[in-house]
Structure formats: structure tokens, C-alpha cells
């Protein structure tokens, strides 16, 4: 293995390791389980969304609606519990169904109506951003708020729902690992297993590389493309549920950054292990990379408004790793 292929393969992981070491030395309190868990927690929701977008990238698609699906799930869960006064389970099921349904509509728009993926999901993004404001006339949802009908919302977030966002499990240390981190890891393992080890995942990669050839090999291309968007919709709604459980209210202004952050994580993932293709492991590492960088910089007192700049720079460097250095990236530019 020459230096170039070594750099392509392990460059990004080494960079991550280097960053961790650097911050451990420079920023006091960076090295330690609490700090590590904090990083995990900060990336868990964007990570879950990024894993979903990875599934659409695998079939050579793109889902721009994930951020708005997540915020719609946030508003929907709050609406179900606070306004309709229903249970946590109902709220979760409603969100998951909403996510799957949006994914299905995205998929049908792309496959049946032949709308290009970026445009279909862009349209869906606008639609959802608007839709989630209608029931409350644009206001956030919390207990005691005035409803459009003049009544007061009496419902409350149930404790079991809040547990999803706020509970921490004991793991060597007391109250160490938050539930969202566990869910992030579970979703990550699930998507990884699905994409890497099952025939469905293999066919989805084949579709992403050569759709015609895969159809002529007998695969139901449309079904798999729709499935990718349904997966993306469901993971985005899981992200929204966790966000809702962390906030404890239907905050209309939350989740603005979700789309860009998770797309960045998925694209950074291309560079991990020189994959030069969307992959679940890379996506998780990509999300972590951004988290480590932001946490380290924050602990070094970098101002918050530099965050987007830092994320953007990481993304650009990762894309150079993928497309300029790796010969495989060059070939897949068809």
C-alpha cells in the first residue's frame, strides 16, 4: 500500500484521532467520559438524520426534506400530547407514520411523477415547513398556551416521553449515557447491517451505480428507491421525536440546522476509509468528527458564530479527500 492509498483510506480517521489528541492536550476537561458523552449527545440527532439521508444517497438520490420532517415530528408530538392530550405512545406512532408517509410521497414523486429528487424533496421541505405552522397559527406549543379556538391547551408532555430525551443510563459512572445516544447507535447498527450485509442493501448500492443494469438483473428498482425515502423519512421522524423529548415543548424555531448538519455528516462519511460512496459507518464517523471539532473549539472558547464556518471547511476538505484524491471518486462522476 503506497502513501497515497494509505492517506485515502485512513487519512480521515487519523485526522479525527489527531483532533482528539490535540484537544485533550490543549483544552482542559476535553479528555474524559463526560465530555465524550456530551459529544455523542450533541451529534446523536443529526447523526440519526444523516443515517437516513445516507440511504437515499446510496440509491443515487437525495433527501432535502429530512430537516423539515424532523421539525414536523417535533410539532406533531407536541400537538398530540399537549393539545389532543393523548399518550406518549400515540405521539410516537403518529410521528413514525408521518415520517414514513412523507418518505413514501417523496419516493412516489421521484419514481412515478419523475420529479428530480432534489426538487421533489425541496418541494416537500417547503410544504412541511408551512404545514407544521398551520394548526397553531405559527406559535410554539406548550402547556397552557392559547389555542386558535380560544381554549387553553391542558395536556402535558408525559414523563415517559421526556425520558427518551433526557434520561441517562448508568455505565461505570452514574447517569452517564443519554438515551438518544443509545438510539443513535441502534439506528446506526441497523442501517449498517441493512446496507452492508443484506441483499436489499446490496441492490440499493447497485441501483446507485447503474440503475438500468440493476433493473435488467431483475431488481424492482422503483420499490427500492421508494424504500430509501421511507427509511429516510422514518429516521428523520425519530430524530424529531428525540428533539421534542429533549426540549419538552413544540418549539417552532428549533431544528433549523438539522438539514445542513446531517447532510454534511453523510457527505463527510464518503471520505472515511476511502469508501468514496455513501456508507453508514462513515456517516456516523462524519457526525462524530463534526461533534469533536465543535466541542473542542467551544472548550477553547471559540465563539459560537464560527461553528458553521468550521463545519463547512470540514465538509470541503472531506469532499476533496473523496473526489480529488481517490481515483474511484473520479470514475463515479457519471
Amino acid at each position: 500500500m503506497n502513501l497515497r492509498s494509505f492517506a485515502i483510506r485512513y487519512g480521515f480517521l487519523l485526522l479525527l484521532l489527531g483532533l482528539v489528541l490535540f484537544f485533550s492536550v490543549v483544552a482542559e476537561g476535553f479528555a474524559g467520559p463526560r465530555s465524550a458523552v456530551f459529544i455523542f449527545q450533541s451529534v446523536s440527532i443529526t447523526g440519526i438524520l444523516a443515517l437516513g439521508v445516507t440511504a437515499t444517497l446510496v440509491v443515487d438520490g437525495f433527501d432535502l426534506s429530512i430537516g423539515s420532517v424532523a421539525t414536523t415530528a417535533l410539532m406533531l408530538s407536541a400537538y398530540v400530547m399537549v393539545v389532543l392530550e393523548m399518550s406518549a405512545v400515540t405521539a410516537i406512532i403518529a410521528c413514525l407514520i408521518m415520517g414514513a408517509f412523507v418518505g413514501l410521497v417523496n419516493g412516489l414523486l421521484i419514481v412515478k411523477a419523475r420529479v428530480p429528487d432534489l426538487l421533489a424533496t425541496l418541494g416537500m421541505m417547503f410544504l412541511l415547513i408551512g404545514l407544521q405552522r398551520i394548526p397553531t397559527e405559527g406559535r410554539s406549543i406548550s402547556t397552557g398556551m392559547k389555542l386558535p379556538s380560544g381554549e387553553t391547551a391542558e395536556g402535558v408532555y408525559s414523563q415517559s416521553f421526556l425520558w427518551l430525551g433526557r434520561h441517562r443510563l448508568d455505565f461505570f459512572l452514574e447517569n452517564l449515557i443519554p438515551i438518544p445516544v443509545i438510539i443513535f447507535l441502534l439506528v446506526g447498527v441497523f442501517i449498517w447491517l441493512f446496507l452492508e450485509l443484506t441483499r436489499h442493501g446490496r441492490l440499493m448500492y447497485a441501483i446507485g451505480s447503474n440503475e438500468t443494469a440493476t433493473a435488467l438483473a431483475g431488481a424492482n428498482v422503483n420499490k427500492y428507491k421508494i424504500l430509501a425515502y421511507v427509511i429516510s423519512g422514518i429516521t428523520a421522524s425519530i430524530g424529531g421525536i428525540l428533539l421534542s423529548a429533549r426540549l419538552g415543548r413544540g418549539d417552532i424555531a428549533s431544528g433549523n440546522n438539522l438539514l445542513l448538519d446531517s447532510v454534511a455528516a453523510a457527505l463527510i462519511g464518503f471520505a472515511v476509509l476511502g469508501a468514496a460512496k455513501p456508507n453508514a459507518f462513515g456517516t456516523a464517523i462524519g457526525a462524530l468528527f463534526v461533534g469533536v471539532l465543535l466541542q473542542g473549539l467551544t472548550m477553547m472558547n471559540a465563539p459560537y458564530y464560527t461553528q458553521d464556518f468550521v463545519k463547512g471547511s470540514v465538509l470541503v476538505i472531506a469532499l476533496i479527500f473523496t473526489f480529488a484524491l481517490s481515483s474511484k471518486g473520479r470514475k463515479t462522476s457519471h
Binding site: 450485509l197 443484506t198 441483499r199 451505480s209 447503474n210 438500468t212 443494469a213 435488467l216 431483475g218 424492482n220
Partner: protein
């Protein structure tokens, strides 16, 4: 007759591959010269040199006595050599109206004013349309017009440059018979205006309609020039395919039980109904020139399109596949032509390319069994003699011939009832062609094998029987014997099949 263009001693190589070997060609003005040649004969390379896409390694071209070596397509265009390519949409801009399309080259000139003068533009466009006998509303958007009209516009647009040599590459491939007639009328108008026309086509009906001369190419050389008041069409086809069809020493196989049947099948509106039965342990080549209906047969059997008319039977039962997946599950496999678009998954390694259609057979509750995949792949690699470092090589690192072996291996790796191979020797060197051929013959015992090839010599090389199709209709079926070659050849080149009644149908049933 004035000589418009003279090509002498043109040589062109791509890497080690010599595509043109000293080509000499004369193109007189006011004449339609038809250029015929099989795939890979070097026609398109020759055209690309004339229209400035490629540069010749040796030799020279003169245009009306002056040296002509265009550096770019626009250079050739300026000098009066105009090319209309096979894909019409390269020649027109769909969103603009007819007038703008006709005058687009004028608009692109730097001397054109900043503001459009629509009236003047339309007046000039009308003039151009009139000289070309184009009866069109010049304010209509081109995207609303049919293919023939678009083709006419592409040519008319070319005419605004006053070409001296007009090259048309398979211009009728997307036109109906009526539309083609209009094109021919236009071409004879141009001929009367003194333009030299080089017309590239496989279609005998086109060639009969318009050719003043026929030039055939084979293996990078001019293999025949046919001139004079009555052209020898059959001679031209023979010259295109090779002076003598060399019959291989093929051991014809004993046919087994019948597997697949076509009954009262029609391939197109103009086709004649026919019956065919395919047997076990039999290799049938379905052959015919471009547009003869081979694709219609293959796609009907593989569930891509229904048969135009008629029934298909598999083991005596009606067979109407809804999709390729359906066909595959019933044991009808197809290895499609044009592997890079239709078959190769370029991001995958050899193994995953090989097993792609059969992932469900190599998985346990959807989880893939890597050991199984590896075993399948290594077996096929050794059977077909695929040259690679390991089964984990990316398929795109292989040569064209080896990639094709992977694609063939994909469909040989599982048992099939009927195996359809569409142009299995496309873009494959002679060694790989032999390997693929022998592997197909060796493995053919328990299935019927249909090989769809445009080249007759490939059919002769591999098949037990040869079915000839011609322009969407069935022309005949023959045993692959030396004594039948003459008949096959004449049907292939479009001679009315009436004289061969005794040969037709003698093998049916």
C-alpha cells in the same frame, strides 16, 4: 463529375488498435455515396476524421483540391463539411422556435447585433425553409415537432452554411417509413444543388432508395466500391461482411426436448406471423441488420415489452412475463447488449457483479452469505478464464473482453431454461470471443440458448441454427451448414424471401 472530397491513405490508431488501415475514398459532388460497414469496421472513425473530431495519424484529405485537415468540428463546419449525427437532438434546440433554430448559427456570429430582430430573423428563416421545401410553421417550438421534422430542421440548419459535403450518420434510425421518404426527397434536392452526400446506413431499404454509389468497409479498409447504373446490393453485403464466409468446424449438437415456443408471433405492424420452437441443448442465433426486430424478440421473452402480436409458451404453458424479475424466476435469463449501460455495475467488484441477479438465492433471511458469493465468483472466473488478480477486483479495472466474460458468467452461474444473449461479442477481442463462445456451447446442455447478433459471421461461429429477421419481419430459419450460407446471406441482405420457400419452414416443428 467534379470531385468534392478525396481521402487518401488515412491511418488511425487508438492505442495498439489500428482502426483505419490506409483508407482511400472519393466523394464526387452531386452524388449520394452510401457507406456500409459492420460494427467496428471503422465507419464512425472515418466520419469523425472528416468532421474534425479526430485527427488522422497519416494520410490526407482534400476538399475541392485543397488540403483539408480540420482542427475541430466548427473548423470543418466553416470549410463546408457538415455532419448530421445519429442523435437528432444534438442538431436542434428543443425550446426555441423553428426560425431561431434555422438561424442559430447566424445568431452566434459575432457580427450579429445585440438585439434580436424577430421579423428579419423569420423572413430569412422562411427563405431557408423554402429552398429546402420545408413546409413548417416557423414559429412553432421544435419540441412540439416530430422526429422527422426535427431531423429536417437539423439538416436545413446545416444548409444555411452552404455545405459542400454533407455527412449523415444513420439518419433514418428513428424515423418511420413515411418520414424517411421526406428525408430522401430532401436529399435528392440537395444532390441536384451539387452537394456531395456521404450517407451511412445499414438499412437496405434506404440504400436501395437513394444510393448512387455504395462503398463498403471492413476491418478498417475499403472492401468494395459499387458504381454504375444498376448496383449490386448483394455483392455489397458480401463485401461488407467479408468476401467469403468462413464456416467454422462446428460440431452441431443433437437437439433435446422442446422448451419454448413462439406461436403466430408478429414483431411489428409490417411483420409476417411465424412460429418457432426452441429446443434443449440447442443454440439458435437470431440475426438481422439493425432494426430487423431482434430486440423485439428478446425484450418480449425477458418481460420488458409484450410481444407485438402472438403467444409465447414455456414448457407448453402460456408464458407472459410481467417484468425481468418474473422472467428470471421462470428461468428465462437475458444478458443485455451494450454492457456499460445495461449490465456493468461499475462501483462493484467482480463477485458482486456476477451474483447481482441471484442475491436472493445466496442469502439467509435477506442476509448475504459471503462464502457462497465468493465460491460462485471464483468458479466462474476459472471457467471463463477471466484475467484478474482476485474476485475482489473492481469490474472496471478489467479489459472490455473480461468485463463481458463477467457479464456472461453472471447468467451462466445459475441454471436457466432459456438463455438470451444479446450481442454477447460486442466490443470483445477475438480471444475473449472464442472463450465466451466455447463456454456457451459447453454449458448449453440443459437449456435453449438464443444468441442475438447483427453480424452474420458471429452467428455462423456459434449457432446450431440461424434465424434471419429482416426489417421487423421473420425471413427464415436454417441449419448452420455451409450449403445454407448463400440463402442466409441473401435473406439477411433483404432479398424477397419468396424464392427461398423450400428453405423456410423446413426446420419448423
Amino acid at each position: 463529375m467534379e470531385l468534392a472530397c478525396q481521402v487518401s491513405g488515412i491511418v488511425k490508431s487508438f492505442g495498439p488498435n489500428q482502426v483505419l488501415k490506409e483508407v482511400d475514398l472519393e466523394l464526387p459532388s452531386a452524388t449520394i455515396t452510401v457507406l456500409m460497414g459492420a460494427n467496428g469496421a471503422g465507419k464512425s472513425t472515418l466520419v469523425k476524421i472528416l468532421c474534425g473530431v479526430h485527427k488522422a495519424d497519416a494520410g490526407n484529405v482534400t476538399l475541392f483540391g485543397e488540403n483539408f485537415s480540420p482542427a475541430s468540428p466548427s473548423d470543418a463546419f466553416q470549410s463546408g463539411v457538415v455532419t448530421v449525427h445519429q442523435t437528432i437532438n444534438n442538431g436542434v434546440i428543443p425550446d426555441l422556435d423553428v426560425a431561431s433554430n434555422l438561424m442559430i448559427d447566424r445568431l452566434a456570429e459575432s457580427s450579429a447585433g445585440f438585439f434580436l430582430r424577430t421579423d428579419q430573423l423569420r423572413a430569412e428563416a422562411r427563405k431557408v425553409a423554402a429552398t429546402m421545401d420545408l413546409d413548417l410553421d416557423i414559429t412553432a417550438a421544435v419540441k412540439d415537432l416530430g422526429l422527422a421534422d426535427r431531423q429536417m430542421i437539423a439538416i436545413a440548419r446545416a444548409m444555411t452554411r452552404k455545405p459542400k459535403l454533407l455527412i449523415l450518420d444513420e439518419p433514418t434510425s428513428s424515423l418511420s417509413a413515411n418520414e424517411a421518404k421526406r428525408l430522401f426527397k430532401l436529399l435528392s434536392n440537395l444532390k441536384e444543388q451539387g452537394v456531395a452526400i456521404l450517407y451511412i446506413s445499414h438499412r437496405m431499404s434506404d440504400i436501395r432508395a437513394i444510393a448512387d454509389r455504395i462503398v463498403t468497409m471492413r476491418d478498417g479498409k475499403i472492401s468494395g466500391i459499387f458504381d454504375g447504373p444498376s448496383l449490386d446490393y448483394e455483392g455489397a453485403v458480401t463485401a461488407m461482411l467479408g468476401q467469403k464466409m468462413v464456416h467454422g468446424k462446428l460440431q452441431l449438437q443433437e437437439k433435446g426436448t422442446p422448451i419454448f415456443e413462439l406461436r403466430d408471433a408478429k414483431l411489428s405492424k409490417y411483420g409476417n406471423p411465424f412460429d418457432l420452437v426452441f429446443y434443449k441443448n440447442e443454440i439458435i442465433a437470431i440475426t438481422g441488420l439493425l432494426g430487423s426486430g431482434k430486440t423485439a424478440v428478446a425484450s418480449a421473452m425477458f418481460g420488458l415489452n409484450p410481444l407485438f402480436e402472438g403467444d409465447m409458451l414455456l414448457h407448453g404453458e402460456p408464458y407472459n412475463p410481467k417484468s425481468p424479475a418474473d422472467a428470471i424466476s421462470k428461468g428465462i435469463f437475458m444478458c443485455p447488449k451494450d454492457r456499460s449501460t445495461n449490465a456493468v455495475v461499475s462501483d462493484f467488484d467482480i463477485t458482486n457483479n456476477m451474483v447481482l441477479p441471484f442475491l436472493d438465492r445466496h442469502s439467509w433471511f435477506s442476509f448475504l452469505k459471503p462464502k457462497n458469493l465468493e465460491r460462485k465468483a471464483t468458479l466462474s472466473i476459472s471457467e471463463l478464464g477471466i484475467v484478474c488478480q482476485s474476485e475482489l477486483d473492481l469490474v472496471t479495472t478489467l479489459s472490455g473482453g473480461n468485463q463481458q466474460k463477467v457479464m456472461i458468467g453472471r447468467w451462466l452461474s445459475e441454471k436457466s431454461e432459456v438463455l438470451l444473449l444479446d450481442e454477447p461479442f460486442q466490443g470483445v477481442d477475438i480471444k475473449a470471443r472464442r472463450d465466451i463462445g466455447s463456454q456457451i456451447r459447453q454449458s448449453s446442455k440443459d437449456r435453449a440458448t438464443l444468441v442475438f447478433v447483427a453480424e452474420l459471421d458471429e452467428a455462423v461461429e456459434i449457432a446450431d441454427k440461424i434465424v434471419v429477421l429482416h426489417e421487423g419481419s421473420y425471413a427464415g430459419i436454417f441449419e448452420n451448414k455451409e450449403s445454407n450460407i448463400v440463402d442466409i446471406l441473401s435473406l439477411y441482405s433483404g432479398k424477397p424471401p419468396g424464392t427461398l420457400a423450400e428453405a423456410r419452414g423446413s426446420l419448423n416443428g
